[in-house]
Symmetry: C2
Subunit: 479 residues, 2 copies
């Protein structure tokens, strides 16, 4: 029960993160190197993320399905860039039911290939299009330098795979899902992501164009938090996804894929967390409010608990996700620290004096000390709590946005660029050549994160070579 | 678009099943032998099953988490009976990231071992107990004789794993979850399952006691549809799950595990389906009502669709899961057959005459022809539809219960037993010896399904050997 302090963020951001994930019981290391265990508190957070995304997927016409975990090795080899990208990361099943397999099976690192194969069976006519399917599941990409939620051999995600009759429709779908991700990140996770297009170097293996939502973490590094890919006809040609059009001619379909993973939990931790621990956005928090009853005697306890239990029932009935911390073996002060560490947005304290006054104390996680504390009447508590949760959600987004904006710079030359990416992003004109991209990376360790969808008008000169540039790009160090 | 008839159930139940699963687009075969693809219609059914179960798990104090897919091979070997049971069915990863692994990893066939390992890390004191965790996921048990939903190498399920301070508590949990399964099966899936205890031969590899819900399919075979196991201290000892009790003494925990899988979809198909196709219980059906607008001219169409769209919006708003079938390329008759085949509980027909009369026609899937058809006013449709769905749900359960009860027999001797298990179950006294169990199996192919929880008073003589018997058992052929 002894309280160990977290390493301060400013001292060592990476240690702070690793300690916090374990201490808050979001996740744990598994005995298999590279894999993680997502503990109930972390999984409930993921369930809330899933629900918020799944609602958006269904509103935009998508349905869920499930495709096999195991994929014949030969499938991966059908799309040249795809296999080159994924070959080094594969886990391979060579024995099944006690016998050596004739063809090894890979544990899916992503499902374009097996889904492409099934689509070629299902899609015959233009009437069968579009196909708009999503899958929630687990994937494996071999990885031994574990960082929980950010880099693990097995992780959880959703992968959408769609097939369309025209290029325009598939491109539209790619951007629609990018919008869905951005809307989710901003309005549910309170993370002010930037939507943009990946460079040729950074795009998905097998895509024509990859788009991304990029988030700035508390150490100013970028985290790619969701991607949506326009796959052109690459996979349709590799897997013969063909349909007869209205003129009865055979055509290849156009496909997309898009994914968001448990990495988002890492993004939430590193965007909002502070030296006291997690700070979870109310809309996704497993526990939105924790109640801490305070008493010194059995007599006080019975008076306090009667009211506390009534308030608990009332808030629960109204749909507030809450917890009563009635542990006897620890002090209220210990409980405050404990729930602050776990990032619960609101704490309610209720003691004998509050009972006398007919009020309770509410303390905001996002505003430390007296500033974040208010005393509110026990009447109309549902409205007061709901309002405060909305306020906290908005304040967290505003704070993260201000932090991000104050760390995006417009350097005037390479010298300045090299400086600013040490503690922020550079938003600069770029000629889109691989050469200039590599020069920046070699000199600064910053890579191109994306060419934002929202661009300034006009054009400029590449910050590296000075040649004409049509679009600005974000350079930043990244996870 | 040509309509192929299903093989009648009475002619070949197995062909009927296989054809129906494909034709209704619940699932498909995958290119990897033994694996299945669950298509959107089947997955939505599974999502509804998940929601109904998950709600019950959470109401009984459980939380969800996620444990790794890959398990060190040595883990399985720590519990002797467990490894003997599962060794022949394993898929083994021997290569990771391009290199031969030092220790092969198995793709989980079930997770007692890896979860046991983690529990031994997490559980220290009596204050940490009980641990009540469930996991939704996929497992792999090598299997090449595929039967979609019933027997596939990969399948989807939930597995609950709990740890308790006492034997009594763990036994109580085992039965609590058996009750949850039975409540779900009866009240959501309309399947009148029998709760009971498995024989020593039929129990889970590593369990002290296995309990089951057994359902009777349309061909009178039994399907084990969910199991809940009391594991004693077997896994706690194999994985050192120990805690200090209130007297500060070290104790092994008592554990349980319980699972229900996509097999339940097979149970729903084979309990309720008929020669026309699926018949889905309204509480789980992906589509509860399909609307078929009827018109012959553009003028009729515009009148009909205006009302149809208004009704659609009204029902959707009320939470009815419904679909408008406005396909132009097929006839209403084709649509009726199509949705009957897919098992949609209610069909609404709406044409020009209905518009004139201010009514609609509602046709029940569970009652063919005129008997199941009613004309109801367009006012108050939400109530009419909701009531009918409740009625259909109840009628389906009643029908399945009557079918089951009329196929459970009380044979007077082995000769009669041999006859009745050809087309039903025998409910007989049994001395609980493996010898008598084997004799019945060898003579009839019927195995012991379970010793029902609800037993008649008193005792009897074993139907095989005539020795004293304390409990009755169900003998039946099974999937």
């Amino acid at each position: 029960m002894a309280e160990e302090q977290l390493t301060p963020r400013s001292e060592n951001f990476s240690d702070w993160y690793n300690e916090l994930v374990l201490k808050s019981e979001l996740a744990d290391y598994s005995p298999v190197r590279g894999c993680m265990v997502v503990r109930p508190y972390g999984w409930t957070l993921w369930e809330n993320i899933q629900a918020a995304l799944d609602r958006r997927f269904k509103e935009t016409g998508h349905v869920n399905a499930a495709f096999p975990l195991l994929i014949p090795k030969s499938f991966l080899e059908k799309e040249k860039e795809h296999v080159e990208g994924f070959a080094p990361e594969l886990a391979v099943v060579t024995i099944g039911g006690g016998e050596e397999l004739e063809e090894p099976l890979i544990v899916r690192p992503t499902s374009e290939t097996i889904i492409g194969y099934m689509y070629s069976k299902w899609i015959k006519s233009w009437r069968d299009l579009p196909v708009l399917i999503n899958q929630w599941g687990n994937v494996v990409r071999w990885e031994l330098r574990t960082k929980l939620f950010l880099r693990t051999a097995e992780f959880y995600w959703q992968e959408g795979h769609t097939a369309h009759a025209s290029e325009a429709e598939a491109r539209e779908e790619t951007l629609r899902m990018l919008d869905v991700y951005a809307d989710f990140a901003i309005n549910e996770a309170a993370i002010p992501v930037v939507k943009g297009v990946k460079s040729e170097t950074e795009k998905f293996a097998g895509a024509v164009m990859s788009t991304t939502i990029e988030a700035m973490m508390g150490d100013t590094k970028a985290l790619q938090s969701g991607t949506s890919h326009f796959l052109g006809q690459n996979f349709a040609k590799a897997f013969d996804i063909q349909y007869t059009d209205k003129n009865n001619e055979l055509q290849h379909a156009w496909t997309t894929s898009w994914g968001l993973s448990t990495r988002m939990i890492g993004a939430i931790i590193m965007t909002h967390g502070d030296d006291k621990g997690l700070m979870l956005p109310p809309r996704l928090a497993p526990i939105q409010l924790v109640m801490v009853p305070i008493y010194r005697s059995d007599a006080e306890k019975s008076v306090v608990m009667e009211t506390a239990n009534r308030i608990f029932a009332e808030l629960k009935q109204a749909g507030i996700r809450l917890k009563m911390d009635d542990r006897e073996e620890v002090t209220p002060g210990f409980k405050y620290n404990d729930w602050e560490m776990r990032g619960v947005p609101l704490r309610m304290e209720i003691g004998p004096k509050d009972i006398e006054k007919g009020s309770v104390a509410l303390a905001r996680r996002d505003r430390p000390g007296k500033e974040g504390k208010s005393f509110v009447p026990q009447t109309n508590l549902v409205a007061a709590v709901s309002d405060l949760l909305v306020e906290i959600q908005a304040a967290m987004l505003a704070k993260a946005t201000a932090f991000r904006d104050s760390h995006i710079h417009d350097p005037k030359d390479m010298v300045e660029l090299t400086q600013v990416v040490q503690n922020g992003w550079a938003y600069s004109w770029w000629c889109e050549s691989k050469e200039c991209e590599t020069k920046v990376k070699d000199a600064t360790k910053a890579s191109t994160r994306c060419m934002p969808v929202d661009q300034p008008e006009g054009s400029g000169s590449c910050i590296v070579c000075g040649k004409p540039a049509k679009r600005k790009v974000i350079f930043g160090k990244s996870y």
